[in-house]
Symmetry: C2
Amino acid sequence: MVPLGALVLTLVLAEAELELVPESIKGHPQVQSAARNRDRRAARTLLDASLHHEAMRQLPESDRRGRPDLVHFSLLLALDSALNKADKLRVVVHTRNDERIAIHPDTRLMRHYPRFVGLMETLLREGATPRHNPLLVFEPGWTLQRVLEHHATGPIVCFTEKGSPIEPGTWMEAKVAQSPDLTVVLGCFPHGDFHHAPETFANEVVGLGGDALSVWTVEMEVLAHYERAVKVFPRPAMESSAQPT
Amino acid sequence: MVPLGALVLTLVLAEAELELVPESIKGHPQVQSAARNRDRRAARTLLDASLHHEAMRQLPESDRRGRPDLVHFSLLLALDSALNKADKLRVVVHTRNDERIAIHPDTRLMRHYPRFVGLMETLLREGATPRHNPLLVFEPGWTLQRVLEHHATGPIVCFTEKGSPIEPGTWMEAKVAQSPDLTVVLGCFPHGDFHHAPETFANEVVGLGGDALSVWTVEMEVLAHYERAVKVFPRPAMESSAQPT
């Protein structure tokens, strides 16, 4: 039996496609118009592929940038999980521009996408939110290497499309038997490769075989099978039931 | 060994809080203003708790209605899953107003929430989208009972907060060993009970113990452990890799 108190899964959402509208396209009519619709200055709005498609053609790697939606759902899935509620999960976001978003496990993230975008815009501008006792902290100057040096617990495993195909349930069972502390790195971008070869920052590089999967699809496998391996279920009964919204 | 060709998981997202703005509040200033911002008529917009909070106070059960976001993420998680890509998953949505949304497994749902809302508004008005060879079909007159009579495969299990607590991995293994075809009913509402007692429509009523969990949290457990039980991983190699976006 693994002692339940000690172990933790560290989930790193890496090279996340979350950034403010880059200087070079903030004057583009599409960007200006989208910002005006929200009564904001263009440079203070998040880059969003769904709104800025035309303008983004001028950017390098335009086909993968501007995807706050990937960060949103990945964070919701992690923070709402039984693993997080059992206080056995740490989530950290590393962005394409080598910034870090540290997330307190008690964070109750808004479900409504436009509100999440507003929250991220505030966070990227002010560096922390809420101002007192912040749950989310944003800092520049964090390479993925530095994030891992600071946050990693146990061995570091990177999931990518090109990693050695595994069966995630049996793989996770064996992994947790070796070391219940574990760090999993997932690429929080829509497709393509990590900018740095995963072998340079991870002890092991694995995949789920077949075609590319969404980040939350891989995340779901990691969370559910880690939960089983560390015996999160059945959960202790509550005296009064809290309500997710 | 279970023969892989035959089995399927049917996932029913039940009593989903997805509806157009009800007649009684379409004249409310908050509803009118939100519709105007999107250049739409109020009666043609989805009820959205995040936008219509004040106006919704006049509605019965206002604290749980207007949650298209729950349907959005739940569908993305299901449709993007390796289980769906292996053609072993069927998803159907049943709404609070006893409507059915039938969803083709090949549907590539938009990730961007405002676009998803637009899609649902079109679907609820026109009954099918796209017009030719529709992937999504919306029909009134489908009670949950009728949805289950029409769609259920194998035993019907309902997950609710009050169901007998299980460990989802071991439970699913045993379940699939008995019958690889399985129907799982999840409440696609933020909190509270089903309007009809789950015992009246399900063969088994189970839960994950503890406090209430988000629909996608429960869904993640169901999908990941069903995938393991029916051996979806490792997936067959692809000749060229498709790109999720």
